[in-house]
Amino acid sequence: MVFKNLENYNLISVIDNIYTFYRDGFKGMIIGKKLWKIILIKLFVMFVILKLFFFPNFLNTKFETDVEKSNYVLEQITRNAAKSQ
């Protein structure tokens, strides 16, 4: 029983038990294995393919500093202003 009587364990034993708990848990998975495959494929597609190649952060790719970004956004939100005093 992994978490029972935790007070009798030292730190290394606790870490070892947590590791064993997760290892055995993953090994013993039935439907979970299929689900993990789906999760990993999904995360790969999202973070590696979509984020890197199709969803760059527009401002971060165009500008380096916050001042440059501020100026650009200010320009965008005032570009149709009449600028009449």
Binding site: M1, K34, F58, I77, A81, A82, K83
Partner: protein
């Protein structure tokens, strides 16, 4: 036929709406099913009955499938902020950063610890610790929804912030005002309780299917009793929180309320439209009756909007063209003030660039006077302040009609379950079978009301959607729109296939993790 505008802003809108609605298939089921698993397991721990353990493990497996397929689908929305909505993303970054970071950290620690115990811990931790973990997953999942709804509530009712013209950002002035924003609070309680309701309907659907097929009868009957009690309580709470939510909409977003009720001409002692068909060619200010037919409940809209039977509820025409008698400013007047604000902001920026600080201070002072109308300055005509009325109107009425049906359905299931004659109610079980789908329609309708009803605003009154976007071409967004469509359709197909397979296996001998 209605013309479809295929500009970049509409593609970006469509992509965001599609992603959010897809994400919203999984979230309410997680919110509701997590608590139902906790209820089932609590009964198991208290009674020691192995059948309850099997019931808990069965629903936990379906919960796990839903969670695994749905996890991280919401992150796509954050990708879109940076790419398609860069102006918006920059402008609100200071407000959204904290809530979204808290959500991310909270979700990570929760998932890494209690989820693992919940799925791996059967027979490996004590019964009570396992139960504690299941409850923590339920509570934690619901609490992690707080932060994204705080962000959404802020967009509907921006409070606790100030616009900094130097940086073009809304900066947080009071974290507590943002977190306890009345719109955010009512949104959270309404949304989470509707998730409980949906989870209960999901259990009714699967259990009804088993009863119709004559399989796993004991499990199905027991599941139905728990789901019916939880569903009945949740649906009462949904009605209560929905009323509170509508009140907040009336106070903070009167145009949205007018749109969801199809109310063009404001009324004192206003009635609530229970059902009705809108006239398709109705336009603001044209004087036509907006309805072809309608059934109204007298006084109820006034009560809903202002907690008074005799109060005045403004209509679309009052809000667009103004109503002096009711002291409602016209949108044209707000547009004029908004244009001044934008103009002064541009001049302030120019003066700063020229290092003329004296001039800059003058324009800053002028800008401050009208800055609350800044968003209106981007509208070209007053009618642009009106959302596409038919969409939120029908979505609202579908949601309310289904929300009225659900408590009756739960009460019927509970009544016949306690009477011991549920399996003989051949008329009721098919309704139970489709109830999950009806719940999903109600869920999605709720989001359509909230999001389409607030158009044209990304941030209510301050930033219209068309200014929030990145300066990209429509083609950029079209490509990613269809990529998402393909990816999400695949994921949904995977979810349905795996779930159906697991449901066919049933609780006996099926996988528990």
């Amino acid at each position: 036929m209605m013309d479809i505008d295929l500009s970049m802003v509409n593609w970006a809108r469509a992509q965001f709406a599609f992603t959010a609605m897809y994400h919203w298939i999984f979230v309410p089921l997680t919110l509701g099913l997590s608590f139902l698993c906790a209820f089932f397991e609590t009964i198991y721990v208290r009674t020691g009955d192995k059948e309850w353990r099997a019931i808990t493990k069965f629903w936990m497996t379906l919960f796990g499938i839903n969670f695994a397929i749905g996890v991280a689908t919401g992150i796509i929305l954050e990708f879109q902020f940076g790419t398609n909505w860069s102006n918006y993303s920059w402008i609100v970054g200071d407000i959204f950063g904290a809530p979204l970071a808290i959500e991310g950290i909270f979700a990570f620690f929760l998932e890494a610890t209690f989820f693992a115990v919940m799925f791996f811990g059967w027979n490996r931790v004590s019964k009570k610790f396992h139960l504690f973990s299941t409850w923590m997953v339920a509570i934690g999942s619901n609490l992690s929804a707080v932060w994204i709804l705080v962000a959404n509530g802020w967009m509907q009712n921006p409070v606790g912030m100030a616009f900094n013209p130097e940086t073009a950002r809304f900066e947080m002035q009071s974290f507590f005002d943002v977190v306890f924003n009345p719109v955010a609070v009512s949104k959270f309680v309404h949304t989470s309780s509707s998730g409980f309701l949906f989870g209960s309907l999901f259990v009714l659907t699967i259990s009804s299917w088993y009863l119709l097929r004559g399989k796993h009868l004991q499990m199905a009957k027991r599941s139905i009793i728990v789901a019916s009690v939880f569903g009945l309580l949740s649906s009462s709470f949904v009605a209560f929180t929905g009323d509170e939510s509508a009140y907040e909409v009336a106070q903070k977003q009167p145009m949205k309320l007018a749109a969801i009720e199809g109310l063009y001409k404001g009324e004192t002692k206003a009635g609530l439209v229970a059902a009705g068909i809108l006239r398709r060619d109705k336009q603001p200010g044209d004087g036509q009756d907006p309805f072809l037919i309608k059934i109204k409940i007298p006084f109820m809209l006034s009560l809903l909007a202002n907690r008074s039977f005799s109060s005045f509820v403004p209509g679309i025409d009052d809000l667009v063209y103004g109503n002096e008698e009711q002291n409602i400013e016209s949108t044209a007047s707000k547009i004029a003030k908004g244009k001044k604000a934008i103009n002064d902001l541009a001049l302030f920026k120019q003066a700063r660039k020229e290092n003329d600080n004296q001039k800059a201070e003058v324009f800053l002072s002028k800008f401050t006077k009208n800055q609350e109308y800044m968003g209106y300055g981007y509208l070209n005509k007053p009618e642009e302040a009106v959302p596409p009325v038919a969409i939120p109107y029908y979505a609202f009425h579908i949601m309310v009609a289904l929300g009225t049906l659900f408590p009756v359905l739960f009460a019927a299931f509970l009544f016949f379950s306690l009477k011991g004659s549920l399996t003989r109610q051949k008329w009721l079980l098919p309704i139970g079978l489709i109830s999950g789908l009806l719940g999903l329609i109600a869920q999605e309708s709720g989001w359509v009301v909230a999001e389409v009803g607030r158009q044209p605003w990304a941030i209510n009154g301050l930033l219209p959607v068309k200014v929030a976007t990145t300066n990209l071409t429509a083609t950029n967004v079209q490509i990613t729109f269809f990529m998402f469509f393909g990816l999400f359709t695949l994921l949904l197909a995977a979810e349905i296939t795996i779930m159906l397979k697991q449901i066919a296996i049933g609780p006996e001998g099926g996988p528990s993790k």
